[in-house]
């Protein structure tokens, strides 16, 4: 759509009467913006051509509109795109839904509120603080659970894989079994022969060959 910005002073409304709710200047503006209805197009053409004063006024507005082209344009680079994407990925999923609601509907609260403080921003801050607090507690709880689990498993692993404890346990089991087996036989020499020398000393046969 090739827009040709043009307008006329609203004061011109005082000198023209048109049907409908729109004033003359709105009709001319919408006509020149390509937004006018078929009826409005005809009316706008007649208005502009009917009065040199309106024509001059319209030209001034058009030139003022063209001056906007002098405003500098910020250039967006690939680096900025990447940086923005990085921020989005880093922050995404970390905020409450209230933040988006505030962004999407905050303007209403701005214009509806007569006070200097916006409800939208106030609630947004509340939600943000609450969310940060919840996140902190969640991290602490998770760290505690992970720490506890690690401690428990390390204890189990030490018990199972400690070579000294394994050897002692095996010996103790062997000793008890032998005691049970040999209790009736009352042959402690045999027990000494198969048991641990540190506990029972050397068997007689070995001590005195």
């Amino acid at each position: 759509m090739n827009k040709t910005p043009l307008n006329i002073n609203t004061n011109a409304n005082e000198f023209h009467t048109l049907p409908g709710e729109l004033g003359i200047s709105e009709i001319v503006t919408s006509y020149l913006d390509g937004e006018a209805t078929v009826d409005e197009v005809e009316i706008a053409k007649k208005i502009i051509q009917s009065s040199p004063e309106i024509l001059i006024e319209a030209q001034d507005i058009q030139r003022a509109w063209d001056l906007l082209d002098f405003l500098p344009v910020m250039v967006s680079t690939e680096a900025k795109t990447i940086e923005t994407m990085a921020v989005v990925l880093r922050e995404s999923g970390s905020g409450p839904m209230a933040l988006e609601e505030s962004a999407l509907h905050g303007a209403n609260s701005v214009f509806a509120s007569n006070s200097g403080v916006s409800n939208a921003v106030f609630q947004e801050n509340i939600h943000l603080k609450f969310y940060k607090k919840i996140s902190f507690l969640r991290i602490i709880l998770m760290a505690a659970v992970i720490g506890g689990c690690l401690g428990f498993f390390s204890l189990i692993l030490c018990r199972v894989f400690d070579p000294r404890q394994t050897a002692q346990k095996s010996i103790a089991i062997g000793l008890v079994d032998n005691i049970e087996i040999l209790r009736d036989a009352k042959n402690l020499d045999f027990l000494r022969a198969i048991a641990v020398p540190e506990l029972f000393g050397q068997p007689d046969s070995l001590e005195n060959p």
Binding site: M1, K3, T4, P5, L6, N7, N9, T10, L22, G23, S25, E26, T29, S30, D33, E35, K45, Q49, L55, I56, E57, A58, Q59, D60, I61, Q62, R63, A64, W65, L67, L68, F70, L71, P72, M74, S76, E78, K80, T81, T84, M85, V87, V88, L89, E91, S92, G93, M97, L99, E100, A103, L104, H105, G106, A107, N108, V110, G116, S118, A120
Partner: protein, 199 residues
């Protein structure tokens, strides 16, 4: 955006690449500060990404992005009192005085009749700032984004008639503010405009 809603980050990167400059320039015109505009641009995409689950295909993506950006700009302007519409020094005719800014970092570029480019930029910037937020948003969206009245209405949450009136008032005010510099740039091309109308 539908792909983004389904978790496609690459699609969102494409959206950023496509709209980053436009959103950034819109925000620059709204808040008048490049750094703030950059920050708000990131914030805009961040909030859109968070709210991607609520996107509906019937809503035009550009309208949605500019709505979020506009709301963020309004919040920032409201929170920053120095940015609010302050009464500007006017000439007797109601237009802004021409400010001769010195020293200049770049070589001044003459526009016409002794007016230099930087002076025009400063005057236009001041005139745009003198508009209220809704008028400024409507002007920027219409001029630089070439949005239709319907699209502007969606962004600003206004009906079609309200948009027409808003843009009309904004243009008339802009002309009044810039009359001082308009008179010095070039004569009025009445014949040209009449020719355009005849066509």
């Amino acid at each position: 955006m539908i792909r983004v809603r389904e978790g496609d980050d690459e699609a969102f990167r494409e959206i950023i690449s496509r709209f980053h400059g436009r959103i950034q320039n819109f925000l620059k015109h709204m808040v008048g500060n490049e750094q703030t505009a950059e920050d708000l641009t990131q914030e805009t995409f961040l909030r859109v990404h968070r709210a991607r689950g609520r996107y509906r295909a019937r809503c035009r993506l550009a309208s949605w992005l500019f709505t979020v950006a506009n709301n963020l700009a309004l919040n920032r302007i409201r929170d920053n009192p120095s940015r609010k519409n302050l009464p500007l020094p006017m000439t007797e005719s109601g237009s802004l005085p021409i400010v001769h800014s010195t020293p200049r970092a770049s070589v001044p570029e003459p526009v016409g009749n002794g007016i230099e480019r930087l002076e025009v930029v400063a005057a236009v910037r001041a005139a745009l700032d003198a508009l209220n937020e809704k008028q400024r948003a409507a002007i920027v969206l219409s001029k630089f984004e070439e949005m239709s009245y319907e699209e502007i209405g969606k962004v600003l949450e206004l009906g079609p008639q309200a948009v027409k009136s808003l843009i009309n008032r904004a243009r008339v005010r802009l002309k009044s503010l810039l009359m001082g510099i308009l008179d010095q740039i070039q004569p009025r091309p009445i014949e040209n405009l009449e020719g355009d109308l005849d066509e």
